[in-house]
Amino acid sequence: MQTHTSSNHTEDAVLADQLRELVLERLKRLPEDMEMSIGDMDYSKKDLLSHVTDGDTVGKEVVEMQIEFLQDLASGHIYADE
């Protein structure tokens, strides 16, 4: 049986911070003149960086997309069916 302790929560928070930092570094490489359409909303590079920094709903969504991509890239799953 898994037990969640305050130590687990601290580790989770640290990991979340590290992932957010990783995504921020990747987003900083986006071209300055870009806008991104995610669903029905449009975001500039500055918007994306701000949402991820704030950790709001949009920011979490962008982090999740980036992490999914990086995990599949690392596992080789991204090259499946090619």
């Binding site: 806008e35 995610i38 669903g39």
Partner: protein
């Protein structure tokens, strides 16, 4: 060569995202005309519920290419007016086929359409993403960032218009997205381009096809 097949386009243009999709339909409409299809173009504010319903209820349409915003249960037109909603009477769509270039519609609405008698439906079960360059706002068709995302998505319809099956259309679009992804991940791409790869990857995973995929328009 003329055909008796009718194609309905919805392409609102009320915000930057829909405006890009609006322009990226131009080449598909030209192709449909050149192949002899009868094109019904609900462009800009014409992409409203009244116009859409009257075309569907006339029962002449064979294929619908929907562009715009949406969610799991709703596909929208101009100013995000709902055109098709899950849970409503979808019987008028029986026998039609569709490509829905919108977010998440395939999660619920797409499945419901197929279970209501739609022959085949391709679309996205997740958010549809693309990048644009602010330098090309007035020339969307020349936008090199948008091309990476929208050219493969157009391939669904161009493949169908050339007489191929829904299975072919889906797989060619997937292959084109994967080819672009490979380019983005390769040394041949710029750091700018590489940073967009994640969004294209989500589109690849989000694109789905339901129904009889051996069907053609």
């Amino acid at each position: 060569m003329p055909t008796n097949k009718h194609i309905l386009f919805t392409r609102p243009n009320h915000d930057p995202t829909t405006n890009y999709l609006y322009y990226w339909c131009d080449s598909i409409i030209s192709l449909a005309n050149s192949k002899g299809f009868v094109v019904h173009d609900l462009a800009k504010s014409k992409a409203n519920k009244n116009n859409f319903d009257s075309h569907i209820k006339a029962r002449t349409i064979n294929f619908i290419f929907l562009n715009g915003h949406g969610n799991e249960d709703t596909m929208c037109g101009y100013n995000d007016e709902p055109l098709i909603e899950a849970g409503s009477d979808l019987s008028h769509f029986k026998g039609l086929s569709l490509y829905v270039r919108s977010c998440q519609v395939m999660q619920n609405l797409g499945k419901e359409l197929v279970s209501s008698g739609v022959v085949a439906c391709i679309g996205y079960g997740r958010k549809f993403n693309f990048f644009r360059s602010t330098s090309y706002t007035t020339h969307p068709l020349q936008d090199p960032y948008a091309r990476i995302f929208l050219e493969p998505s157009n391939l669904v319809v161009s493949t169908l218009l050339k007489g191929n099956t829904f299975s072919d259309a889906f797989s060619r679009s997937q292959q084109a997205m994967k080819k672009n992804l490979q380019h983005l991940l390769s040394g041949a791409s710029s750091p700018d381009e590489r940073s967009m790869a994640f969004a294209l990857y989500i589109n690849i995973k989000g694109q789905v096809a339901y129904g009889d995929l051996s069907a053609r328009i």
